[in-house]
Symmetry: C2
Subunit: 187 residues, 2 copies
């Protein structure tokens, strides 16, 4: 136990999500989020770069996880096989507990242009990271970019479908199905 309640960042995330869902992104001030989390607005900005970033806290973790899975793929795996491994590795992030959070989060994001912008750049950053990972595996630049783009597209589509799917469908199944669809398309 420290001097303050621990996990201020976590409380801020919870508070922000709750308030965004309740009053909308524009209808919520940083001061209100901080209040609910029991800190000041100044502390909010010490944990998150801006008012949007609080909804994208997990993205660096997810990216790191995918890049690691990409690097861990067998050396003789094809670019697309490596990307597939990275995409499937995301299943470990989104369990049943996260699904409810993900749904509320997605609802807020899709209804707020500012947040959609942020999400787009996160996806772009992820694509760049995967591209770099493929380049490190010796993949040709053109192929790397294309494979990374495809991988992120598969993740995006699957994530959306997972959110819309019944509660008993795990995200792994959706990812598998999307990958199968892709294979059928390109065959």
């Amino acid at each position: 136990m420290g001097r303050w309640e621990p996990d201020a960042a976590g409380r801020l995330r919870e508070a922000a999500m709750a308030l965004y869902a309740e009053r909308g992104y524009d209808g919520t001030t940083v001061a209100e989020i901080a209040d609910r989390a029991g800190v000041t607005a100044r502390t909010f900005f010490r944990h998150f770069a801006d008012k949007r970033e609080v909804l994208f806290a997990g993205s660096e973790q997810l990216e790191r996880h995918m890049v690691e899975a990409l690097a861990a793929a067998p050396p003789d795996a094809s670019p697309m096989e490596a990307v597939t491994a990275a995409v499937l590795a995301t299943a470990e992030f989104f369990d049943d507990i996260r699904r409810d959070y993900s749904r509320r989060r997605a609802a807020v994001i899709t209804s707020t242009p500012e947040l959609r912008e942020r999400e787009l750049i996160k996806m772009a950053t992820l694509t760049t990271a995967l591209t770099d990972g493929l380049l490190a595996r010796g993949v040709a630049p053109d192929v790397a970019a294309l494979a990374a783009e495809t991988g992120v597209a598969v993740f995006r589509v699957s994530f959306e479908r997972w959110i819309a799917a019944p509660d008993d469908v795990p995200i792994g199944d959706v990812l598998q199905a999307t990958l199968k669809n892709l294979a059928a398309l390109t065959a």
Copy 2:
């Protein structure tokens, strides 16, 4: 001739571009842009929704132009042929005069995360518009989305290359070359 100098929006665009290039986006205030354009900050926000939008003023026009070209394609044209027509239609927008502006604009955008976000959402909006245009032509949803995505990708890649190319290369040539590359890839 009106009561004020005409084309305030145009002057604001010029002023913004010059100041962003000179001092950077963050180092420029809306008040400074307005000053240079001979108006007040309030007037800036009457012409542009926010500080970023002033660099994306032409995007609605470009989108409309592409959508019209898409609609004007022969009814029996394939989805990809229609998209190709839309992509090639952009050549009418970017002449030699626009190239210099485009270069400076691209330099500012790539060096400013906030502006990159805005550019990404513009591209996403364009993709949606082309998708809708294809749907109106009776194209199946999956195919429409994919074709639109591909078309925007071709435009993006071509635009980047055109900016980096020597001054005597017209954008039309670059678009043609990119489309040829795509055909070779998918063959």
